[in-house]
């Protein structure tokens, strides 16, 4: 099931092919090749999908939905939280 938690871009590789995003405290790399050059900058919120950045998310909307997710995630311990967040982008059917 897709939760589509917004991720914040914390680093963009020099050649713009990859970036590092932070999804509620969990960091991972994502492919940027579906986006135009210079379109994604550090600080932007994005939607991930099977390892790719699919598009940017409006910042206000992103912050509002992160708030909803936070309430639940706070109830979980570190490992569970991490697993849940990673799993959000790893639904085996995802992207189909």
């Amino acid at each position: 099931m897709c939760l589509s938690i917004p991720s914040k871009v914390v680093r963009v590789a020099e050649d713009q092919t990859m970036c590092t995003v932070d999804t509620m405290g969990v960091q991972r790399d994502a492919n940027l090749m579906m986006m135009a050059d210079d379109e994604v900058k550090v600080g932007d919120y994005v939607l991930l999908h099977i390892g790719f950045v699919m598009n940017k998310i409006d910042e206000d909307e992103a912050l509002a939905s992160i708030e909803t997710y936070r309430e639940i995630l706070e109830l979980m311990d570190e490992d569970e939280r991490k697993q849940a967040i990673l799993e959000d982008d790893e639904c085996p059917r995802r992207g189909l």
Partner: protein, 380 residues
């Protein structure tokens, strides 16, 4: 007690908000003197609807009908057979995504091919193919690409990199399909049957992930030419409830429009860069066969002729089967995919056909309507 992952998903949705929407929908629906049949096109929505019991929250005159949904469910046996034959070729590594590996073809599934010694791999992201190709220079790696508009650009990026990095041993078998064309087909074929089935598709819940890429504008003809409202919605129950509420409001207010519920990421124009990549590498095929639905005009993509040297369908033309194949005669997946029947109406639902021994692909894919009914109908 540690929270389970399941709790995350179960609690993720605010019950109060869902109830408030249910109330609003009921109030609005009471103003209508007819039944509204809402088709959710995508399996992600079907899943949410079943998992959260949304049909029970609906007034009597709001009816869900399930659409074609999942790219695995709609894959005709002919294409599965292609994958099987390719996997069985010497020196080939066949790579694909998702539940594809379990779908039965006429000789068996990719899983069966694997048990006969074929090298079939399942990847999480198409980009993993580059690594597989690099690590296996003496093999031909074939990516069996599936998916709606959402995943098509990822395949396009992979093709782009294959060319730019001069990867000599990576090839593609393209099975990407497009949503608006099949929606159109569903309306047309349903309208023909409207007397015998006595219901029709009144409105669509459009899948948000497709529109993140292609924009909401791909649905523009539906309210205008077909007089069917479309609301592009996210996958969470609150999103779905709000989407339905927006549809019902349109009927109450006598409007017929294209609206976006999922404004978090969906815009009218979508991801233009991704669209350009798709345009560069793919073109429409005249006909693509959908399982249960038959040939749907211009509903599938193929590699453009300039990239024929990467196209496994061209390269392996001589070994790929071309015969048409009928589905199991008791399986009513076709009617289910058209939204004309619901899974329990199938005589072998839950008996001869279940997730552990699926006869039709609606049961194979976990996004399929039959699998969703089975799973959430307390039959497990």
């Amino acid at each position: 007690m540690p929270l389970e992952l399941k709790n995350l998903y179960d609690n993720f949705r605010d019950g109060e908000t869902i109830k408030a929407y249910a109330k609003m929908i009921a109030e609005d629906a009471a103003k209508l003197d007819r039944t509204i049949n809402i088709m959710e096109v995508c399996g992600g929505h079907t899943h949410t609807i079943m998992k959260f019991g949304l049909p029970q929250l609906m007034p009597k005159n709001i009816n869900f009908i399930h659409g074609p949904g999942c790219p695995v469910c709609i894959m005709p046996k002919e294409r599965v057979d292609h994958a099987y034959v390719l996997a069985m070729q010497e020196d080939v590594i066949l790579v694909t995504l998702g539940d594809m590996i379990k779908v039965p073809g006429s000789n068996g599934s990719l899983q069966d091919a694997r048990s006969k010694g074929a090298d079939v791999r399942f990847v999480y992201s198409p980009m993993e193919c580059l690594k597989i190709a690099e690590e296996n220079p003496d093999k031909k790696v074939i990516f069996f690409a599936i998916g709606f508009e959402t995943t098509t650009p990822m395949t396009a990026v992979l093709i782009d990199q294959t060319i730019k990095q001069n990867v000599p041993n990576l090839f593609f078998h393209i099975n990407h399909v497009t949503v608006p064309e099949v929606m159109q087909e569903l309306i047309d074929s349903r309208d023909e049957h409207v007397d015998s089935y006595n219901n029709k598709i009144d409105a669509f819940l459009g899948p948000s992930h497709v529109s993140v890429i292609s924009g909401s504008r791909i649905y523009e003809p539906f309210p205008v030419d077909y007089k069917r409202p479309v609301v592009v919605s996210g996958f969470e129950p609150v999103d779905v409830m709000q989407g339905i509420s927006m549809i019902v409001k349109q009927f109450v207010e006598n409007r017929c429009e294209l609206e976006i519920q999922y404004t978090r990421v969906v815009t009218e124009e979508g991801n233009l860069n991704a669209q350009a990549l798709i345009e560069k590498y793919f073109e429409k095929v005249d006909l693509f066969k959908w399982r249960g639905l038959g040939n749907v005009p211009r509903s599938g993509l193929k590699l453009r002729d300039e990239y024929a040297h990467l196209d496994a369908e061209v390269i392996y033309k001589d070994v790929l089967p071309i015969a048409e194949i009928e589905d199991h005669k008791l399986c009513i997946c076709g009617d289910i995919l058209r939204g004309m029947a619901k899974p329990p109406e199938c005589t072998i639902f839950g008996t001869a056909c279940k997730p552990t021994s699926p006869l039709g692909s609606c049961m194979v894919s976990s996004e399929g309507a039959c699998a969703a009914y089975y799973k959430y109908g307390n039959l497990l």
